[in-house]
């Protein structure tokens, strides 16, 4: 089916002026995805970008592909229809923490449960950007926003944890300012058969600047984050001398070379393990914060189940046309 075409990121730029605030991570995400698309090896008319409402959800306008700028929270549901209707399309859901975890929470968990082949890019800035700064379901307790002038009282979701609880088969996390990491991960998400969720830690310079500083600032990010890769030991740190080991049911950071620890003692990342327990531990970790593809467990997707069942029914049915029903 797939025609091989050589694209560059420019082929995915629309003629619309990009209208985010100067300095917003959204620009990085846009460019990273535009750079990832040529690596996916699909004709551009096969890509569909579906979004909800929010700063992030303006995304489809900036892509030169098919797209729907939907209504608030419903992108996953609309995209499910697109994909069920035509499993030959590569469907991206572009959404924010408000769009997907507040109003759209239901469609979000159901998409993950069903394991339909969507690529959900969740711009998590821990704030409502477009409506100018109210707390979101990922805002921290105590966070002061326009609707929590004395501090937020609602404990946040951890999107990765929620996703795994909803039986997500693919979860990745990446920093909003990490262009290269994003491009890699988008390619992997697209290649994954099933619902792929990518949480992007996106800095909103206007309403929640610095929310991820602890993890994304150049000076500290190597010490405070761990970028996992399947089959590789979980090592991090500027000097790549830190790693994770399992201590009972807890992950522990150790230093290679200290207390007799060698690289061989470090846990090797297995993104493909169907059992989500270790993945759950990884998504919960705060220091280091785990980035990269944390979970990627391919199963039969919803579309595949649908197609298989339909083929079975067709094979044994005498009904080939409406006329056969009434005859």
């Amino acid at each position: 089916m797939t025609t091989k075409i050589k694209y560059t990121f420019k082929d995915f730029q629309s003629d619309q002026e990009v209208r985010w605030c100067p300095g917003c991570d959204d620009y990085v995400i846009l460019r990273s995805l535009q750079k990832a698309l040529p690596l996916m090896n699909r004709p551009k008319e096969k890509f569909v970008f579906v979004s909800g409402i929010g700063c992030s959800s303006r995304f489809p306008y900036y892509m030169d592909n098919y797209g729907i700028h939907g209504i608030h929270g419903r992108a996953a549901a609309i995209a499910t229809g697109v994909r069920l209707a035509n499993p030959d399309l590569s469907v991206f859901v572009i959404t924010g923490d408000g769009d997907s975890l507040a109003i759209g929470g239901n469609h979000f968990i159901h998409a993950l449960r069903r394991d339909i082949n969507l690529n959900i890019i969740l711009f998590n800035n821990e704030i409502y950007g477009l409506t100018k700064g109210q707390f979101s379901p990922t805002s921290k307790i105590g966070q002061k926003t326009k609707t929590s002038p004395y501090g937020n009282t609602q404990p946040p979701f951890n999107p990765g944890e929620l996703a795994i609880g909803a039986d997500a088969r693919f979860f990745a996390r990446v920093a909003g300012n990490d262009a290269k990491g994003q491009t890699e991960i988008y390619v992997q998400a697209h290649a994954f058969k099933g619902t792929a969720l990518v949480e992007v830690l996106q800095n909103c310079v206007i309403f929640n600047d610095g929310a991820y500083k602890f993890w994304t600032d150049k000076n500290v990010r190597d010490e405070h984050t761990l970028f996992v890769e399947h089959g590789k030991p979980m090592i991090f740190g500027k000097n790549r001398d830190k790693g994770l080991i399992l201590d009972g049911l807890q992950l522990k950071t150790v230093t290679i070379g200290q207390n007799g620890i060698t690289e061989d003692d470090i846990l090797v990342h297995d993104a493909h393990n169907p059992d989500p327990v270790l993945h759950m531990m990884l998504v919960r970790l705060k220091n280091p914060l785990v980035l990269g593809v944390i979970r990627a467990v391919e199963e039969k997707t919803l579309e595949e189940r649908e197609i298989e069942l339909t083929e079975q029914v067709k094979a044994r049915s005498r009904i080939k046309s409406f006329d056969d029903i009434v005859s």
Partner: protein, 618 residues
């Protein structure tokens, strides 16, 4: 096993034009099946038929309880029949609760068949009878036929090796056998049906057929029975099926999709009384139908919007509360200008209301239940069989005019059934969606066809026509976001004009019975049968009464003024507080409208209509 049924003895018979029968019993008594069997046989044997099932909201209410009573009413006729009948000629009551709940609908002098075995103390108590109505003289106005059905059935089946419960359960076939005999209907279709249905349980087949025969034979011994005959209806179509409105709706979509060369996508969430459409369409994987049961109504319509974008004939089905939830997304479909059909099988409201009852009170919601100026096409089906036609037409309009269409039916026609003349694809009009499959110079996503004002439908996957559409106001050509004041006004008006223009593509309004006269009766949707019968009766009495019944609500068909101005008075009859009347006041303020309204969760009776209309006649 013998399946012989003794012929009815040839005593003189009474020929009737129509007969209304209701089977009533416990939810577990199989009354729906019994009624359906009788209906099918009568239809196969040439009668016109119309049914009205009426079951409780509870799944399995405790045995013998009043709210657990399930009923199935059918009118059969030697001429055209448009309603399930007002008053009953025959009531079969399987227990005291069934008698209590249904007796009020039996004609004075009508026949009542009861299972006397069920009239024990406990059941009488459960039905809140102070004394046994079979004994206290309260039934003196009726022709009461007391039959110990349970014991007769059990006795007849005593040698068949099935469990005791199954034997008792066969008593509905005993009752059916009696009614078959009474109306001289050959039970052969039921015999066939039983054989097929229980093909792996021969003992059950035998038991049921035996019960049927026993009932038939028992009826013969009751010399008191007059022998009725309802002759074959003369205009009965050669090939037809008895289908419910919900099935007809589902089939209409199947036919439309194939006719348009598209696949059908349904995104839906179960809700009474619309669930049947989802259930029916779930069966047609062989036709590539995708019947997607979503997590809620919003996901139902949203997935349908996605599927429409991706090139399917996309529909979503629901009832009133579900339509309320879909409002916001429906506005998106209006803005996107994509084809989408929404079916609302109306039920009693507001809120959860009366889920198993019928009403026409979602009209205003369908017309106006969205933010902003958000016009959608509104159609309404007149009867179970008409639902096929309207589902087909809704699809055709949605696809050819690139617009959401709301099809209103209701619980009465959704669950009710009547014969539907079989139609094949070749009998149906063409459907030609404005697909654009290849790049055209200077094409823009919101360019419009001058005839219909519809934009082109470009399906993702088409090279060279990539574009993005969305819910923000859009430039009149490119579809890009536009906040320009004049552009907004232009777009609001053109979306309205596109819908208005559809009036040029549908038949103009016509009247039945009279095209001028003293009174015009106006109705819409599922009340057609009752209105038509009532207006027919008035005409038979020599009254100059016309009927204008609307399938098309928005836009209204052309010619409304011309029709309305020919009558002295206009009365709008509907099952709500006057929503269509009010809509007409908006659209045609030059006329004065009387109203007849009923809001009881029940369809109109012909009798009440005739009475109401007569009041307006000199």
């Amino acid at each position: 096993m013998t399946t012989e049924f003794k012929k009815r003895t040839d005593k003189p018979v009474r020929h009737l034009d129509q007969v209304t029968i209701r089977f009533a019993g416990d939810s577990g008594d199989g009354m729906q099946l019994t009624g359906t069997q009788f209906t099918t046989s009568a239809a196969m044997l040439g009668n016109d038929v119309f049914t009205f099932p009426n079951y409780p909201a509870e799944i399995r209410a405790p045995q013998g309880s009043l709210y657990g009573v399930s009923g199935f009413q059918v009118q059969i006729g030697a001429k055209n029949i448009d309603t399930p009948g007002d008053k009953l000629d025959l009531l079969v009551a399987m227990n005291p609760a069934a008698l209590k709940k249904n007796l009020k609908d039996l004609k004075k002098g009508g026949m009542l068949i009861v299972d006397t075995d069920a009239f024990n103390k406990i059941n009488l108590q459960k039905a809140k009878y102070e004394s046994n109505p079979l004994e206290d003289g309260s039934l003196k106005d009726y022709l009461v036929v007391q039959v110990p059905m349970t014991s007769l059935t059990r006795e007849a089946l005593k040698d068949i090796p099935i469990d005791s419960k199954s034997k008792t359960r066969s008593k509905n076939m005993f009752a059916l056998g009696m009614v078959y005999f009474l109306y001289g209907k050959d039970p052969k279709y039921t015999v066939e049906f039983l054989r097929k249905k229980f093909k792996n349980k021969p003992d059950i087949v035998e038991a049921n057929i035996k019960a049927l025969q026993t009932g038939w034979n028992y009826a013969e011994t009751l010399e008191l029975l007059p022998a009725f005959v309802v002759d074959e209806a003369p205009h009965h179509a050669k090939e037809y099926k008895i289908i419910t409105g919900n099935t007809a709706t589902a089939w209409g979509f199947l036919a439309a999709a194939e006719k348009a060369g598209l696949k059908l996508f349904l995104g839906s969430y179960p809700i009474t009384p619309a669930t049947d459409i989802l259930q029916e369409l779930s069966k047609y994987r062989a036709l590539d139908v995708i019947a997607f049961q979503a997590e809620d109504e919003i996901a139902g319509i949203s997935s349908a919007i996605g599927a429409a974008f991706a090139g399917k004939l996309a529909i979503t089905t629901t009832s009133g509360p579900g339509l309320a939830l879909k409002s916001e997304a429906l506005g998106l479909a209006v803005m996107l200008e994509i084809p989408l059909v929404v079916v609302d099988v109306q039920r009693g409201g507001p809120s959860t209301g009366l889920p198993t009852k019928t009403e026409q009170a979602d009209l205003m919601q369908a017309l106006f239940g969205r933010n902003g100026e958000s016009p959608a096409v509104i159609l309404a089906a007149k009867s179970p069989a008409d639902a096929f036609k309207m589902a087909f037409e809704a699809s055709k309009i949605a696809l050819e005019h690139m617009t959401p269409v709301i099809l209103l039916t209701d619980g009465y026609i959704g669950n009710g059934s009547e014969p539907w003349t079989v139609q094949r694809l070749k009998d149906l009009p063409e459907i030609k969606p404005p697909l654009l499959k290849e790049p055209v110079e200077n094409w823009k996503p919101y360019h419009r066809d001058p005839e219909t004002l519809a934009r082109k439908w470009v399906i993702p996957g088409t090279p060279g026509l990539e574009h993005v559409i969305g819910g923000l106001e859009k430039d009149k050509e490119t579809g890009a976001i536009s906040y320009e004041p004049e552009n907004h006004e232009y777009m609001v008006k053109i979306r309205q004009a596109k819908v208005d223009k559809i009036a040029g593509f549908i038949p103009p309004l016509e009247t039945e019975f009279q095209s001028e006269g003293e009174l015009l009766v106006v109705g819409w949707g599922g009340t057609y049968g009752a209105l038509r019968t009532a207006v027919g009766q008035l005409n038979e009495k020599g009254k100059k009464v016309g009927l204008a019944h609307f399938n098309h609500i928005n836009p209204l068909p052309k010619g409304v003024e011309k029709v309305f101005e020919k009558f002295d008075k206009i009365i709008v009859a509907e099952l709500n507080l006057g929503q269509f009347a009010n809509y007409l006041r908006m659209k045609h303020p030059e006329f004065r409208y009387e109203q007849y309204n009923k809001i009881q969760g029940l369809p109109f009776t012909v009798e009440e209509l005739v009475k109401a209309f007569e009041k307006l006649l000199k």
